[in-house]
Symmetry: C2
Subunit: 191 residues, 2 copies
């Protein structure tokens, strides 16, 4: 699969075959992709907690917000939940902020996950304090993003942006998840 | 080239074969990778200005800061400069901030560049006001990152972090660029 195919296949998936595991070796190889990705001033302040046991997954799940635009959907049901998570953590003893690093590393991880046959969702709306408590993080470790992972169980398709410019994703009657994307011509600025 | 190879090959390159162009079609295909990458709340506030003409490249070059840790080096000399740039711009009429989107999209673009035989560097230390003036951006368009691109002319290698924990990259007598990276074991948090 070339990169362009991986990027297209890397949709935000929120329903999974929960019974299909993501192995620790897979999760470590994904974090290694993040490790080898660019870091501002090479500070490398990000650390990672990998989770693929059912108990911790179940404890983490309610600390995450799912699909803000789907008002009638509280997130995946039991049986369709992620079988693994990578919690991305900023070590504030190394750097006070790491915004670019976070996105860079998250994208490396998600693209790697797609190549391995997985998929998932980057979740920034998370209960940071509760996650820190659950995972026994010390004061300097601040959860910044949670990457939910598993074998996707839903079809996500990219639609052209509607005429009214509404960016909200939505689900049709077959539970296909539709995501409107701007056209290339709309995001290229003329000099 | 699988993703892992692309990630490893995607080093921050700062010296280029300046005479070797990056075509507009290449730049457009790279922006398309960014377009199809995840965007927080699917807002898609990022826009892109592609530059590969010698005159604008020359005007943009002095508005960028190069390799902060190399105190004796002011950036690539004429003949070794990037032959193209993608200026990433936040449209503040769409979203007030887009930090994750920026890193996510920048990584998609750089990985795509490597697959096409190019390479480059994400530059966040930029003269925003002067860039806006140069490129005639309206008030709502805020330059956030500049991706310098070209055919790399330098060897960059990943070293283990030295015992003193110094993250600074450095160049040896053969102009090989060394970048210390933390070990995987150092960035994985134990639960």
């Amino acid at each position: 699969m070339n990169l362009s195919k991986i990027v297209v296949k890397n949709r935000s998936y929120r329903r999974f075959y929960q019974e299909r595991p993501v192995l620790e070796s897979n999760l470590l190889s994904l974090v290694d992709l993040a490790r080898l990705s660019p870091s501002g001033r090479n500070l490398q302040p990000l650390k990672y907690c990998i989770i693929n046991d059912a108990e911790t997954c179940a404890q983490l799940f309610p600390l995450l917000a799912w699909a803000g635009y789907l008002k009638d959907w509280a997130g995946p049901e039991e049986g369709e939940r992620p079988s693994a998570y990578i919690v991305m953590v900023e070590d504030t003893s190394i750097a006070a902020e790491s915004a670019h690093d976070q996105g860079i590393s998250a994208q490396s991880i998600m693209l790697g996950a797609v190549e391995l046959g997985f998929g998932g969702c980057m979740i920034a709306s998370i209960k940071r304090k509760e996650i820190s408590e659950l995972l026994n993080f010390s004061e300097n470790l601040k959860p910044v993003l949670v990457l939910a992972l598993g074998v996707p169980k839903e079809v996500v398709c990219i639609d052209p942006m509607p005429a009214n410019g509404d960016v909200k994703y939505w689900r049709d009657e077959h539970q296909v998840h539709h995501v409107p994307k701007r056209l290339l011509s709309e995001i290229i600025l003329k000099k």
